[in-house]
C-alpha cells in the first residue's frame, strides 16, 4: 500500500538539523523546539506526532519563516540542500508561494470570513504565474473538484461561513495545492473536525500524494490516525525528537517508553476495558527546561542518567531513538 520505502540514499527535500525555536516573553524565554532534527524525501509522508505544546507547530512555522514576532530559530533548515533559515522575507515568501504549502488546524478561522472563496483561491495565482483570472478560476474549480467539493463552479463564489468544517478543510487543501508545492505541511488538519470527517481528510491526503507526488509533513497528536498514511514517523516530546523511523518499525517495535505510552493511549475497540488510557502527569513547561531526558519526570523506567544527561539519538533513518535505557541494552 505504501509507496516504495525510501532508503535515504537520495537527497532529502527538507532537512531540519538541530533546530531550536525560542520565544522572548515578558516572563522569560520559552524554548518551544529544543534541538529537533528530521528530514523528508520527495513524495514521502512524514507524520510528526506529539502532545499539545510539544513544539510541532513551531517547527513547521520555523521552516516557512512564519514564526511570531517574538520568536527566533537557530540550527539549520535545508531545502533541497540549500540553507533557508535566516533567508530574507521576500525569498521566504517566494518559497511559500512556490514550493512549501501549509494547511492549518482550524479551517473555520483560517479562511478570511470577509472574502469569497474564489477571491482567496485565485489571489497568488494570478500574481506569480502569469495566468489570467479566468484561467486561474477554472484551475481553482478543477482543484475543488479534485478535493470532492460538489458543484464547485457555483460554490466557489460563496463565503467561508456557508461551508461546514470538513468542506472548509478540503478547500484549504485545494488552495494549498493550487501552486503545485513539492511539500505540503498539514498542521493537525483533522483535529478540529468530526471523527467521521477526519478519516475522509486522511483519505484525501493519500489521494493527493498519489496524484501529485507531493511530499507531506503531517502533524498530529493522534498516532492512530496516521497509521495508514505515513511512510515514516517522528515522535516529538518537549521540543525534541524521541523516536523516529519507518512507520512499520515504530508501530511494531517502539523503543522509547514515550512512544509505547502513546501507542497504549490509542483507544482500541478490541481491548476496551472501559477505561480511557492516558499518560500520567503533564508535559514539562517550555518556559523552564530541565536537564536530562525531558520525559524522565513521567517515565516509569527512569534511571539515574535520565535525570542528568540528555540521551543521544542513536540508530538509522529506518529507526532511531533517544533513550538511555534502550541505548544501554
Amino acid at each position: 500500500m505504501h509507496s516504495t520505502p525510501r532508503t535515504g540514499t537520495e537527497e532529502p527535500l527538507l532537512s531540519i538539523c538541530d533546530l531550536r525555536v525560542t520565544f522572548g516573553t515578558p516572563e522569560g524565554q520559552v524554548v518551544a523546539v529544543d534541538g529537533a532534527s528530521l528530514d523528508i524525501h520527495p513524495g514521502e509522508v512524514l507524520a510528526v506526532v506529539g502532545e499539545s505544546g510539544s513544539g510541532k507547530s513551531q517547527t513547521a512555522l520555523a521552516v516557512t519563516g512564519l514564526l511570531a514576532r517574538n520568536g527566533t530559530s537557530e540550527g539549520s533548515i535545508l531545502w533541497k540542500g540549500g540553507e533557508i533559515l535566516g533567508l530574507p522575507e521576500h525569498q521566504l515568501a517566494r518559497l511559500r508561494s512556490e514550493e512549501i504549502a501549509m494547511v492549518f488546524q482550524n479551517p473555520m478561522t483560517c479562511l478570511n470570513p470577509y472574502l469569497r472563496i474564489s477571491t482567496q483561491m485565485i489571489e497568488g495565482m494570478t500574481m506569480n504565474r502569469k495566468m489570467t483570472r479566468t484561467q486561474a478560476r477554472s484551475a481553482c474549480i478543477d482543484m475543488l473538484e479534485t478535493v470532492q467539493i460538489a458543484d464547485a463552479a457555483n460554490r466557489i463564489d460563496r463565503y467561508p461561513h456557508e461551508f461546514s468544517g470538513g468542506m472548509l478543510q478540503r478547500i484549504m487543501i485545494a488552495m494549498s495545492l493550487l501552486r503545485r508545492p513539492r511539500l505540503l505541511i498539514a498542521d493537525e488538519p483533522t483535529t478540529a473536525l468530526d471523527v467521521t470527517v477526519q478519516m475522509q481528510i486522511v483519505q484525501l491526503l493519500k489521494h493527493i500524494r498519489r496524484k501529485y507526488g507531493t511530499a507531506i509533513m503531517l502533524i498530529t497528536h493522534d498516532l492512530g490516525l496516521v497509521a495508514s498514511i505515513s511512510d515514516r514517523i517522528s515522535i516529538m516530546y518537549s521540543g525534541q525528537i524521541m523516536e523516529s523511523g519507518l512507520a512499520e518499525n515504530v508501530f511494531s517495535n517502539p523503543r522509547h517508553p514515550y512512544t509505547r505510552a502513546l501507542l497504549d493511549a490509542i483507544p482500541r475497540i478490541d481491548q476496551n476495558d472501559g477505561e480511557l488510557r492516558d499518560i500520567a502527569g503533564e508535559p514539562p513547561d517550555p518556559a523552564s527546561r530541565t536537564s536530562g531526558c525531558p520525559f524522565h519526570l513521567r517515565c516509569g523506567y527512569r534511571i539515574a542518567s535520565c535525570i542528568e544527561n540528555r540521551p543521544d539519538t542513536l540508530g538509522s533513518r529506518e529507526h532511531a531513538h533517544a533513550c538511555h535505557l534502550s541505548n544501554e541494552t
Partner: protein
Amino acid sequence: MLYFILKRIAIAIPTILALIVLSFTLMHYAPGSPFTGERPLPPEILTNLEAKYGLDRPFPQQVARYVWNIVTEFDFGPSYSYKDRTVNEIIAQGFPVTLTYGSLAFIVSIMVGATLGIVAAIHRTTWLDSLTVGITVGAQVLPNFIMAPILVLVFTLWLGWLPGGGWQGGQWPYLVMPIIALSTSFMASIARITRSSMIETLNSDFILTARSKGLPFHEVVIRHALKPSMLPVISYLGPTFVGLITGSVVIDIYFSTGGIGQHFVNAAINRDYPLIMGVTILTGILTVVFNLIVDILYVWIDPRIQY
C-alpha cells in the same frame, strides 16, 4: 440586502417623526414659549405664527400642521429673533458653511486616524508605534474647544500665518484651523481604534494562511487585514458624526464662521423656538440618515451578518 435596507428605512422614518413631534411638544410646553404667550412678541411675528400653526386650534392639530409643513415642504416656519427671515433661509445660509468644514474634518479624521493606526499596528513595538500612540493619547485629551484657542494662539497671535476667524466663502486659510480643531480628538480616537483592531486582525489565523500562500506582507495587509480591521472604525463613525455636529457649535462660535452652530446658540439664548427646532430636527434627520448609511455599509462589508 434590499429587504434589509427597506427594513432599516422603515425604522428610520418613525424615529424622525417621533423626533419632530417630541421637539414640538417640548417647545409647546416650555416656559416662556411664544405659543403660550408669556413674552410679548412683535405683532408681525404673531400673525405669521398664527397663520402657520393655527395657534388658536387644539394642540394635536398644531403638531399635525407642523409635521405636515416639514414633511411636505420642508418648511420650519418663521424665525422670531431674526424678524423678517424664515428658519429655512437661515439654515440655507448657515448650513453649507458647517457642511463644508464639517465634512472635510470628517474625512481628515478618518484618513489621518486610520493611516496612523495602521502604520502603528504594522510597526508594532518599534519607535514608530510608540510615537503614534503618544500622539494619539495626547490628541485625545484635546477636544475642539481646547484646540481652537491653542491653534489661534500659535498660528494667529504668535506666527501670524492664519486668520483667527471669519469665513470669506470658505477660502483655505479660513478652513485650516476649524478643520484641525474639530478633527483632532476624533482623529486620535479613530487611530486608537484602528490600531488595536488591526493588531487583533493581524493575529488571526487567516492572516497566517494568507502569509503561508507567499503573499508579500503589504498585500496581506491590504487584501486581508484592512476590511476586518475597519469594521470597528465604521461602527465608530456614527458617534463621530454626532460629535462633529456638536463640535461645530464651538467652531462656528469661536471662529465666527457664520455656520449653523452659531445660529443655534443664538437661537437658544434668544429663545427663538422655531429656529432651535429647525436646527435640532435637521441634525436629527441627518444623524438618522447617516446611521442608516453606516448600518448598510457594515452589512455590505461583513457577509456573515444575517439580515
